[in-house]
Symmetry: C2
Subunit: 444 residues, 2 copies
Amino acid sequence: MSHLPKTNELEGQKIIISGGGIGGAAGALALALRGADVTLYERAPEFKEVGAGLQIGPHGWRMLESWGLLDQIVAAGFLPEDMQFRDAITRETILTLDFDEEFQKHYGGRYLVIHRSDLLSILVKNAIEAGAKLHNGVLVTDSHTIDNGIEVDIESAVNPGEDKETHIADIFLAYDGIHSVMRKKVVEDEPVASSYVAYRGTSKLADEPEMQGLKSVIGYIGPHVHFIQYPLRGGDLLNQVAVFESKRYLEGREAGNIPEDWGNPEELEQAYGHCDEFIQSRLGTMWRNNWWQMSDREPLTQWKVGRMLLVGDAAHPPLQYLASGAVMAMEDAEAIALFAADAAKAGNLDWDAVLSEVEAERLPRTKRIQTVGRFWGELWHLDGTSRLIRNELFRQADRTGWFRYADWLWGYDASKREYIADPSKGDVPQGLEEWRYALLEQNK
Amino acid sequence: MSHLPKTNELEGQKIIISGGGIGGAAGALALALRGADVTLYERAPEFKEVGAGLQIGPHGWRMLESWGLLDQIVAAGFLPEDMQFRDAITRETILTLDFDEEFQKHYGGRYLVIHRSDLLSILVKNAIEAGAKLHNGVLVTDSHTIDNGIEVDIESAVNPGEDKETHIADIFLAYDGIHSVMRKKVVEDEPVASSYVAYRGTSKLADEPEMQGLKSVIGYIGPHVHFIQYPLRGGDLLNQVAVFESKRYLEGREAGNIPEDWGNPEELEQAYGHCDEFIQSRLGTMWRNNWWQMSDREPLTQWKVGRMLLVGDAAHPPLQYLASGAVMAMEDAEAIALFAADAAKAGNLDWDAVLSEVEAERLPRTKRIQTVGRFWGELWHLDGTSRLIRNELFRQADRTGWFRYADWLWGYDASKREYIADPSKGDVPQGLEEWRYALLEQNK
């Protein structure tokens, strides 16, 4: 017998999802848990995630709890005692976020880190258990809203052009990621490169003498670089991320000729010369065969096209600084399932109205996270006078002083519909009014 | 009968001072109050100060109190209720320093603003009343330490080369300002231009409808500019200072050809375009015939040459940001008088030892003010992300949170000899370790 908290408000509702990453799998789960008939198509031959560690704040924890997944998530992940921001030059700890009882009481949840592939496996497994049908090797090529529904065109991803089919659903959720095919129905845009690049690496924690006893998420932040460390899988794995600003990208952009391999391993070796030797000594453990050029996209003003809704990274890919990309995609999922179930319970399930309501609530929320994420990235990488006052501000926020800066992010609950009540919360927050993220002007 | 707190520990001690600005007059007063035989030479035909308003924190207030001058100073000056830092773009008040009872209790003194010429007149008048001999139109050209004393060469400043005389004193204090002649005995250096320029102006407060009711020191701080307003003379006068970074200076320095008139009125007109319109509207009231290129000098490692001591701006000219240039010169004066009087009371007045003790206490203290003053200037003028976090840090320091940043400055008392006990206090303060004031590299 399933442990899942299954209800039946959406029984008979047919939902198609494109994309089997964390967002799509969460969407399949959340909707199947309300009894909907969910079909998910993923073009890759198997469900997998790139990268390694993923952070889930209490805003995600509470959803995972409501979906009945806490035991599985905690068993697969790691519960850090705190998050420490340290200056990358001096190694001084300038701000500690204690994930203690006061934190848990304040946010009604815990802070968890987990391997991306472990989280995806859990979501996929439980979505299937909840009744969703998940298919690999299938590409969604197009969709057309029809009277009271939507046609979704699929074909084989292995043999393009073959096995073409068209399926009809009540709604279609485009969870197809930052390189979304469906986003083109709303806007013709491209990812916005941040000039920063990430290297990742995992190793057995037991094999790293210097890292014994690590129970924290540690973020070394410094001029033009940062470096993250935390345990994964109950403390068996050490997860590390090295992020730096690529000079070759900046110079190439200036010259109108950006090199394909900006941020390559040679740049990694040079980028941390001003940092504490300990951080430099850790770079040898990073994977060298892959690096990730950090990008987001501009916030949109529309996600809904007929019965199709852009969601997750397809709608609002953020920079990584607020560690909320995956949770935002999960919040989207829960908002759709919740708003639809509420309507069904009230006896007036109108999918056009539900998708509009989701867009009204979620678009400003995610816009805010995208914008503040950009600001937060600049904050981490400050130099000179600015770095020192950032450090001092962080010191002043120690213990619980930082709650005021995190409540909007970690205290969010879609059921409160707070952004529908006040969409201006999604505008650049007060205090950032005069700050402009002028990508092409910065760092000149 | 004099109201002055006169004592006689230094009776029979002959002291010559070069320079009749605020520092030299304070030196003459402090030493004459201890009974010394003080002669001061000022090359200008009268005692006068350039500029207008001057701020005196509680570190200066307590000295003026001990010299018996409070009634005169308060009658001539103005006691602001508070100091308000406001953002120059939004006009938001981001930090208020209340000069209330809690402030007065914490620092044992008040905050006062006064016209520079009024303060100088009071110091000169009281120095004379205390017995010092002050002479105008006399240039000190050189000095030579002799056995147990010092020869000081003077001549006419009106007819150079005439009226040459040599006088012998126990010590010679070179209070001859930022363009000091005597500083060359220690080092061959030049003022360090900050790239900022100041315009000043005073007007009748009653003639300024927008400024009625002003009882504060207001500092608008913004990217590359600041603008100061406060009342003077019991509130009859409005004092304003407009300071901005000169683009022509920066461009000229880059090109190796700095224009003589950098910071001219044309630049003033252009410099505030990004600021609130109210500030722009005030620029019309500034004097246009004079502007001041803001400079300091590098801190020295030595002030004493035989029986000569560099003091005041001759030894440690600061940028203006901590509003402590005049008070530092007064602190020097009080330290010399106090340390000498202490030695005399103990029956072992040895001027070489006293001057060394003064140098040991005062040099690190003033070095700290010079260095932090440079940092403070950068802090005021930040842009973008950095400005926003500066504003947030200021907001967090409101009410009494800022005490911790000001205690070292405003809580100082030379009699505690705290820098003799710990000269490292004069090094770049902890927290600024990684910050370097790289004048020739900044703003590139």
